[in-house]
Subunit: 365 residues, 2 copies
């Protein structure tokens, strides 16, 4: 069944305060609400729509169910000149992570390299957004999170480990940043809808059914019941396991296996853990030289010959760079379902202005 | 054509001084020769045979050709409380990396987290050996290297980027360590021989021919002409590109694309770059708690159900842990070709004792 893809064109500068106002009505502090809305918008701006406003309703639902605290009184459990361990007290992941990022940058500016660990946190959206912010124009960043189990082990029958995304980022002058954001799954969950819409089989080695049997049939089971296979077999699986070292093991939070489901266990706290590592480039060499080499690396990648009909080689972060440029110029394209949800949430707490923000309805081909 | 696999059983404690003596005769300082021989033995002990004594002749050849300096006068270009940039002066990678590792550990012990960068280095063997040593019993380690281009870009026709292996390691009590060592290639080059021996096609998406055409035929081209495809498409490729940030870009060494081939350009210096990042666990939480959780994570992985006939789930580093236990108990199994090369090199510089070391010839089934 092919359905029409309807979206609304929205100006970023209008969407953020609108979403922040809704969050404030639900009880989030205005400053924290702005941080949350900005991080969600940033994901949409970069084209990482699976981690943008499509998640908004889920967060609000968790607040309503009491599994996500609407206030985020971040506290510092321990710290040194170049490290810190923060407690997010089960508040918004965006808020504790923004604080962790600022501390990591400040410490790396003074002490070359810093590592900030976060516990009792929640979903922080897209890892790449955080690594990109942490790196800014002068640092190399390494950011990661743990998550509920969704990825199978090689040869395994069920959910074994989180998709545990991590991201590396570095400044790249006129090309923005080199920024890689990857999770351990062979295919993102959101893509299941695409294969269903086109009635197309999955490529092999992407999904297991709930019975542990590998399948290429996008209708094999309920959307939420598919089990992700790791990309690259033991390599992807190993990356996810090792992310536990940097997240749960260093911070002392629960293991992936002990984390309830974000979407299915709406009333249960997740207690996620994250980390923010920053390395000041100038510690090693002049920034201009580093950036010159980043640009040189990117230009080399762009010069590589490709197969007839293949897309040119892109650098990690280039799709996001292109998407960001378009979004800031032409606005965001938000799916109708998300707009409807935002409107309902706004109405339910008496936030006005939705009609003015979502006034450009588009039917995509 | 199936050939008999002949190996010699060798005691590690005899092999290391024998190999070190050969290196010393070629001009390496005795202490540095011991470091080199130990690192090669360590790879064989851990079952990473592609980075063990099979490489010995290649290193000696480079010394003879003048592209690898037999003395390694490591110097410190710059340093701070928790960082350093070392110059390997084109000596043995093992020697400059051992120095870098010791500096990184010492700095992390005093300053929680340390990052040591290395330039003008050479091949350092297996990344996992270094991360494992750096982590020891009390640190989390992150180690990586750049390398000559051998991996293709997604959709690309030729060699684009190095396989750029990196490794993460952490202490895991009675299970040794959690240790992941991965490169960007879908299949290790050494495995081509195995597919040829068994006359078996490659799995898809592993190799391109020199013409840029994907092939599953292990006889499609000369061994050295195959071009590795990245594992996981843009994910594996992206990991390799980002390794350039941590290696060449931070240290100021050449990009992968500028590095001559280890095996084919024997007379050309490689100027590789590496890094050693260590995080002291106690900075964040008591070591015993961290190790308890490492063990708990491993026991969870071991408890996972698998498909009928599938091997049990292993933790990253477990194959190496098992191989190490066997090698230290029963000795190493070194292929006949490698033994022959070692014997010839020993004879050519008047090192005796080969007959006593390689006295157990075995025909493997």
């Amino acid at each position: 069944m092919e359905v029409t893809d309807v979206r609304y064109r929205v100006e970023v500068s209008k969407l953020i305060p609108f979403a922040a106002e809704i969050l404030t009505k639900y009880g989030e502090d205005p400053e924290d609400a702005a941080i949350t809305a900005e991080a969600l918008a940033e994901a949409d701006i970069c084209g990482v729509r699976s981690h943008g406003f499509v998640r908004f309703g889920q967060y609000i639902n968790r607040v309503k169910q009491g599994s996500l605290a609407v206030k985020t009184p971040v506290s510092i459990i321990s710290e040194s000149r170049n490290t810190a361990l923060l407690d997010g007290h089960n508040g918004f992941g965006f808020v504790v992570c923004q604080k962790a990022l600022e501390i990591a940058r400040a410490k790396a500016e003074k002490s070359n390299i810093a590592f900030v660990s976060v516990k009792n946190s929640n979903h922080f959206g897209a890892a790449g957004i955080w690594a990109s912010r942490l790196a800014g124009r002068d640092m190399v960043a390494f950011v990661g999170t743990n998550a509920e189990p969704i990825v199978s082990a090689p040869g395994g029958l069920g959910r074994a480990i989180g998709s545990n995304p991590f991201s590396w980022a570095a400044p790249a002058g006129k090309y923005g940043q080199l920024c890689l954001d990857i999770s351990a799954g062979a295919m993102a969950q959101g893509k299941i809808w695409e294969y269903r819409r086109l009635n197309k089989p999955f490529p092999p080695h992407c999904w297991l059914g709930p019975d542990g049997v590998e399948t290429t049939d996008p209708f094999y089971t309920d959307f939420a019941e598919f089990i992700m296979m790791p990309f690259g077999g033991h390599k992807g699986f190993g990356l996810a396991v090792m992310m536990e070292v940097f997240t749960s093991l260093l911070s002392g939070g629960p293991l992936d296996a002990e984390i309830p489901s974000l979407a299915r266990d709406m009333d249960k706290q997740q207690h996620l853990t994250q980390f923010f590592c920053a390395i000041s480039v100038e510690t090693f060499r002049p920034l201009a030289e580093f950036v010159g080499d980043s640009e040189r690396l990117i230009e080399y990648l762009h010069s590589l010959p490709v197969k007839e009909g293949a897309a040119p080689v892109m650098y990690p972060g280039e799709p996001e760079f292109i998407s960001r440029r378009a979004a800031l110029k032409d606005g965001l394209l938000i799916p109708e379902t998300v707009v409807r949800e935002l409107n309902e949430l706004a109405e339910s707490v008496g936030v006005a202005g939705a009609a003015q923000i979502f006034d450009q309805r588009l039917e995509m081909s």
